[in-house]
Amino acid sequence: MNILRHDLARNRRTFLVWTASIAILSVGLLSMYSSVAGSATGIEQYAEAFPETLRRAFGLDRLRLSDILGYFGTEVHIMIILFGSMFAILLSSGLLSREENEKTVEFLLARPVTRYRVVTGKLGTYVTYVLLFSVVVWVASYATILIVHEGDFDRRGFWNLALMTTLVLLTFANLGFLGSVFVTRNRTVYSGALGFVLVMYALQVAADVSERLRFLKYVTPMKWASAADILTAGIPGVYLVIMLVVNAAALAATYYAYARKDILL
């Protein structure tokens, strides 16, 4: 518990800045919906003018910009999942590696704690903050929709998307955490983590636009919380299974590797 409390305190500012930024971004973009909806036919025609591949990349082949969730799914959700994943992976990959970079790991491991307890404390830290991030961002988005949109919308679809997006953020966090056991140099960790998120996003776009690359949907976590998929077809069970396996494997590998690792400074 003391490691968890310590790391929560040390990362509080990072958490607050990211969460506030993304929540404000989402609320701001949603507030612009009424002006978009006002010119509904115009915006749809504008969207139809896009090439087919671009429409697919943005999910415009299945979602309509003039619909509140269509607007949210194509314009806002991408920000939440992209920046949220970056936040999650930067947070998780810094927890163990920073102890080594700042040489504080010698202090930590000279205490009467097992390596497992160290990993658990760090895990608790990023899970807590990623969940809090999601709660704040999605509740703020939901409240904004209630204000700017009159009439009903697919509430269940919205929360399905919230759930899957949160799970994707946790997946990125777990993968970054695992990576940081092996790559510990500060700059390498952070650029590697950001690069990983962006490559995964690129793979998602590739899976959306190209028939031949469709199989990539099983590879990139981004696709597992695709707004167009979930808002039109609900939560695909296969992604849940893949996610469960990937996360369980990543965590097991993290505990295993960290407990056996030579800590070299």
């Binding site: 003391n2 310590h6 040390r10 700042e102 040489k103 504080t104 790991v105 010698e106 202090f107 491991l109 000279a110 205490r111 009467p112 704690v113 097992t114 056996r260 030579d262 800590i263 070299l264 400074l265």
Partner: protein, 296 residues
């Protein structure tokens, strides 16, 4: 039972050598100096004892407990002062020490307060704003606050000014008097000579020998450098205890462990432009130490 005991303890980092077949025994209540040049394997040994790294082969025990299997139990009774410490720079001293205390489920509060006071440390200062000496003090407090029975110190005096060094040694002596065993790693010969009961010498990953400190004391070499005023003059020093006598551009260098008074009087017969009497590098002393062993 030994406080620290290693059996053929060996560590390779890939193919590069850490330590090889190290056999060490520390007795309860002693101050054991662990000395050797940089890169000899001192820090590797300490990291194995604390299980920061895993042995390639062999084993180590502290208080009879295995350093890999029972590391957590061991650490309740061990205090460690790292050579180059990192202590969460953005924290205040008192918050950091409270965090350190939180790992030991019993009251260390009073003890911490006493140590902070004894070392004259400002508890409200941010650690990153502290001078090197004050950072070291923070390190000393975190190593001692849980009243360990074994202290492991890695190059503890590096970067300390003489005043703090003295206070530091006083504190350690006091701990030792209360029965705390001390493992003192250093590459500074004089520190070890001043403070330790026994000394182990490590070189290139191997323990060369373990000696009572008195045995080393007889080897108190000084590095002598003399420049004569008249470069054409020849200097010879016909005294006991002169080794490695060389001349470079009118400057003479040698190691000396004989009578200093006799040396000064001998040199006084010449016009001396410059004279240094210094502590020799450890390597230089060792070289002679072992040559002498070989002659016997």
């Amino acid at each position: 039972m030994y406080v620290v005991e290693t059996e053929n303890l060996t560590k390779y980092y890939g193919r590069s050598r850490g330590i090889v077949d190290l056999n060490l025994q520390l007795r309860e209540g002693e101050v054991f100096g662990f000395i050797g040049p940089n890169g000899a394997g001192k820090t590797t040994t300490i990291r194995l004892l604390l299980n920061f790294i895993f042995p390639t082969r062999g084993r180590a025990r502290i208080f009879g407990m295995d350093c890999v299997e029972e590391s957590r139990e061991i650490k309740r009774q061990v205090g460690y002062l790292p050579g180059e410490a990192g202590y969460y720079g953005d924290m205040r001293v008192k918050d950091f020490l409270r965090y350190a205390e939180s790992f030991y489920g019993r009251g260390c509060r009073q003890r911490t307060r006493d140590l902070v006071e004894a070392l004259d440390l400002n508890p409200d200062a941010r650690i990153e704003d502290l001078s090197l000496g004050n950072k070291k003090k923070v390190g000393i407090v975190q190593a001692l606050l849980h009243s360990p029975r074994l202290l492991i110190l890695d190059e503890p005096t590096s970067g300390l000014d003489p005043l703090i060094q003295k206070r530091f040694f006083d504190l350690l002596t006091e701990e030792n008097r209360r029965g705390v065993t001390i493992f003192f790693s250093s590459h500074v010969l004089s520190d070890v000579q001043k403070f330790c009961h026994r000394v182990g010498i490590i070189k290139e990953g191997r323990l060369l020998r373990v000696d009572q400190i008195e045995a080393l004391r007889g080897q108190e070499f000084k590095r002598v450098t003399v420049t004569l005023r008249d470069p054409s003059e020849e200097l010879s020093v016909p005294l006991q205890g002169v080794r490695d006598f060389v001349r470079e551009n009118g400057t003479y260098r040698f190691l000396f462990n004989g009578d200093v008074d006799a040396l000064i009087k001998e040199l006084a017969r010449h016009g001396v432009a410059n004279l240094y009497l210094e502590e020799p590098a450890l390597e230089e002393v060792f070289m002679h130490y072992y040559e002498k062993e070989g002659e016997r």
